[in-house]
Every structure is written in C-alpha cells, then in structure tokens.
Symmetry: C2
Subunit: 345 residues, 2 copies
Amino acid sequence: MKKKASIKDIAHLVGVSIASVSYVLNGKEKEAKIGAEVADRIRAAAIQLNYQPNFLARSLQSGTTRTIGLVMEDISNPFFSSLASIIEKKAQENGYTVIIGCHYENIEKCGKLLDTLLLRQVDGIIISPADGTESQVKKLQQAGMPYVLVDRYFSAIPSNSVTINNFEISRQAVNHLAEEGYHNIAMIAFDSGFEHMNDRVAGFLQAMKDKGLPVGPASIVKVTFSDMQSGEDNAIFKLLNKKNRPDGLFFANNVIGSKALNIINQLKISIPSEIGLVCFDEREAFDYFYAPLSYIQQDLKEMGEKSLDLLFTQLKGNVSQPASIVVGAKLVIRQSSVLQGALAD
Amino acid sequence: MKKKASIKDIAHLVGVSIASVSYVLNGKEKEAKIGAEVADRIRAAAIQLNYQPNFLARSLQSGTTRTIGLVMEDISNPFFSSLASIIEKKAQENGYTVIIGCHYENIEKCGKLLDTLLLRQVDGIIISPADGTESQVKKLQQAGMPYVLVDRYFSAIPSNSVTINNFEISRQAVNHLAEEGYHNIAMIAFDSGFEHMNDRVAGFLQAMKDKGLPVGPASIVKVTFSDMQSGEDNAIFKLLNKKNRPDGLFFANNVIGSKALNIINQLKISIPSEIGLVCFDEREAFDYFYAPLSYIQQDLKEMGEKSLDLLFTQLKGNVSQPASIVVGAKLVIRQSSVLQGALAD
DNA sequence: CTCCACTACTTAAACGTTTAACTAAAATAT
DNA sequence: ATATTTTAGTTAAACGTTTAAGTAGTGGAG
C-alpha cells in the first residue's frame, strides 16, 4: 500500500492545525468557527491529496467499528447463504460491513470465532449458534456485546432473537400429511440440544396426538450432524429399507431432506404414492425432484432484516428488555405429499 | 461494551511502565531485558485483569489488519458460497478474518464495495469482479492493494489470478455432446464483456468446427444477468419453443442451467432423448433432475486455496510478476447427455 | 578510582483521529 | 479609553499500541 495522505499532510499544506482540518472535514466548521475561506482551502487540499480518512484511527478514537459479525453453521448451506445475502445487503445499505464466520457445528470453532469478533471489536453480532454453546452466548452477554440470535435460541439465556414458530408450523405440516391419508408417519430430526429442533419434534408429536396416530420408538429417527457430513447415514437407510416402513416422512431440515431424497432415489421408492414427504426449509433440489417436495418456507427476508433491526436498536442504545421476534413461516404444498395429485397425474 | 483493561492498567497495577508490559506480553522480554520476576508479575496481572489486546490500536500501529476482503457476485449462488466457505475456512486457519461483500453484477455497488475495503485497510482482496469493472481493478492496483482475481479475469490488467481453462473444458463438453450424436447444438451464454465467458463461447465454437457442425446466428443465445433475476427469460423459451429447436444444449453457467431446466420441464421436453444437456458448473438441482445433468466441475477447493496462497505470498512481500494460476476442471458425464443410457433405461 | 559494559528498565515518539479547553486578535459595547 | 464579547482559530489530551533511544544503577577490569 502506498503511503496515504493524513489530515496532518493537509494541515501542513494549508498551513493550519490538524484540528482545523478535522473540524472542516467533519462538517463541524461552524461549531469550531473556521472561516469560509480557510475551510475551502482545506477541502481543496483534501481533494488534491486524495485524502481518505483512516478508519482504524477513527475507530480507535470513537470505539465503534461499523462492523458486525455474522456467525452461522455453514455458509454453503442455502438456508444460511440466503440469510447471509439478505443481511449483508441491508448492512451495506446502512454503512455497516459484515465479517463472516462459520462454525460447522463445532463448539470450539464457534468459541474461537466469537473471541475473534470480540477482539476485533465489532459493534454487534448476529449469530446462529452451534449446539451446546450456551456458555459462549452468555460470555457475549457478560462482555456487553450486542448480539441477536437468529434461527436458533436458548431459552435459558434471555436474548434478542428472531425465530419462527417451529412448533406450530411443524404441527401444521404433519397435520397435512395425516389429512392426506398418510397414517404411519415418522420424523427424521437432528440429535441435538437445540430447542428449535425440539420444538419441531414437539409439533410433530402434537399433530400425531391430535390425529390419534400411533407414535412408537421408531417414529422419531435421530441423526447427527456428522452423519450428514459423511457418506454414511445408516439410520435413514435402515428406516426406509425395512418391511413396514413409514408411509409419511417429515424432515426436520433441508440437510436431512436432501440426504433422505438420495436414499429414496436409491431405493426407488415412489413419491408420493408409497411415501408422502414434507421437509422443513427449502432447497433447490426439492423443486427439481420428480415429485416436487412440499416444504416449510421460513420468511428469510423478514428474518434477516428483523435481526439487523434488532441489532441496530441495541447499537443506538435503546436497550430495554430482550425482544423475541417471531417471523412468518408457511407450508408450501406440492406433489410430494398429495396422494390425489399422484392419481390425477 | 464494558470497559476493557489496557496495558496501561496492567502497568499501573504492577508499577512498571507500559513499555515493559508491552514487551513482556509480546514475548520480547529478553530483547528488552525485563527481569524474570517482573515479567511474571506482568503476566499474572494480565490474567487477573483479563487483558485482551486492542486490535484497532495494534492495527493502527502496525498498518496491517489481518483482514481480507472477499467480493463476489452473490453469496446465495452455490458456486460462490462454496468458494466463500473454502476461503473463509482457510483464512481463519491462518489467523485472517474475512469481510464479505456482494456486487450483484452492479458496477456501482462493486465500486463502493472496493472503496469500503480500501478505506478499512484490509490487507488484501480476493475478488470475482463485476462485468465492466476494469477501472476499479486498476484502481486497486494503483492503490497498491494486494488482490487476486478469481474465476473472472481481465487480460488487459495483468493480475494475480486463479481461473480454470474455460476454453478447453468447454471444447471438451461440446465435443462430448457431438460424439453422443447431438448435431444441432446451441449454447446459452451471458451477454457480457467477461473474458472467461467468451472463452467458453470460443471453446464451443472450436468444438463445433472440429466436428464439422453448422454454426448459425441461432447457435449462441445470449441472455443478461437481469433476465435471469426476473421471471422473464424469453430468449431461452423462444429457442426451445420453435419447431427446429436444437437437439443439444450447452449452458454457460449454473444460473442459466437452472433457468433452462425450468423451461424444459415446463415444455415437457424429454432429456436426453429429445435434447442432450451439459452445464458449466454444478448445482444441487442437477443431481435431482430425473436425468441428472452432465456438468463441468471446477475444482473449487483448489481455486479457493490457491487464491489465498497467492494473496498471502503478496502479503509476505514476495512480489514478483503477477501469477495466473490455472486450476483443474473436469467434465462429469451423466444421463442428460448420453443417448445410449436413455435407451438402456 | 575511573571507565566501561551490562542489566533492567523508562521515556517518548509514532500510528491518525477527535474534541474539550484554551488563546490571541478583532469587533463591539459602555 | 477600557471592558466585554466574538471570531478564528490552536493546543493538547486521549484512544491503545509498538519500539527506538535513552538512563540509572551495578559489577568488573585496568
């Protein structure tokens, strides 16, 4: 990097003090009573020297960096990349810059990421935390760092958060499957301490109960994040390969859905005639599957924007009680869960 | 944010100068001849006060921020999010933090993004520039900002870059279509000044020539970025809806491929029997299409890692000539372009 | 006993800003 | 003619570091 001009250089050139330059360049010439003629010369010199303020010096002085941290599981997951795109766009519009970090569901990595953001003195953090990182979020809170939880939350740590009503929309999804005539429904979920995940499971159970459908030990299949990463996913395969397999499936998120779709293809199971499918979250693959998947669509635009709004409110110092914002989600019904449609086709 | 402890506080507590504290905490106690006992007391005080160095002050002093900027078209495009994921991971491993910005193929946005990164004094930038931003890249160069072009390049501005051989792999892809028996092949490409895009077109033309296939004005259909964003995409629809439509299609990238796939579904064109398909770049949808798409797979891991390597080399000051690294790409053949396969099925 | 070399530090400048507090000169008021 | 206010700035501290240059005190050599 070439040496850049500083206000000192401008002061030298014009023959005034650096304070005068600073006042003029910040539009505070009235306040500091700098004469019009001098002010003009300062501005001219700034242009002549192609002056660019030093952001670091300014931040050091002001204590704010106009930077926010965005921490999520994996930016290559379309759910997160869409959210990131929305957040980055709006942050930019508001003069904020976004530092991104992925924790890949690894507790240590998540901790390191947060430490880095604290160290770099970002103004605030939007985070979709890893499983089991309650203590890290608490640390954020204790450090007084403004943050917003998105998608995931910890009820033990009252925080600003933006989520959807996972229970209710899951209940609706499973209700729909039941009403379409699928009665041996199973759910595939992550084996985690995530409350939003448990809410989805609770929604499933509620619907089953409401519809008077049987729930057994095989009704909820739990898989791990690393199962999904590796090629192995025995649990799903076993579930679908056994003689009296379910006739309806509810996937707890798009990673599970996409994995399961692979296996369904592999086993040549016919959708929706043999099994009805609904997935939580969307994924492009679902549109191109021969029986496009019914799915739960979270309002990502709202989610991203509300997260930033909530963060900005905190940054402006209007801190009151933590707010939990619930944004919309809707069930999009397509061929994968509609038996009649299959007959009609 | 709570008030954090500074080296000044430590100095006070221990009763030494701030310089001593700084030397000890940077492991330069030998060099500065600080006694072992004092050093220990300083370290103890640092722990006691939970001292965290102020990154901004350090950066201001050192002139480096250990931050890199990553500028791409749109993080919600899987090509870019995969690349971003790889780059973020490796940057983190090397103690660098990444600021992300999307230009959405908008020249002004791209310019603003780069200005912001310059202002914030990132140590370097990895950029997949917007169409028509040669002057912006030149400005980067003139400012002495280390940067690496990735995926896209401007031959008029010799730069460090990481790309694939777009010409060669396109030629192979079209060759393959021809050899499979498709002889009325068209290409759908972006209407842009991008050289990598033109290389792909050149590869198409070369293959057509080599195979002695006819090339007419209808052989290359150009679409714009905004066509793809909006629901409208008349050019592709018209091409596929006319009586003597092509029997082979080569898509210049995954955005085009996914749009075209929609139209193909809509028109109920049978793949690969009626049209053979190959797409540049992958996309999850291609795996779940009833006839999985043949595609050109860029080695993204290599691309991301080499980009960072190249940037780090510059940061270490080993600047020689700009290097143009060409990473691997391969043609993955699946059902969408194999006629025999269709018959066998 | 003086000089020199060490040891173990400290001082102070520098990075580039912002901003509260001060001041010299001019203008106005009494 | 003197006191007061206003104008048009300047000085200097502060943000939290790093680091070159300086120094006070001690030990040993000659």
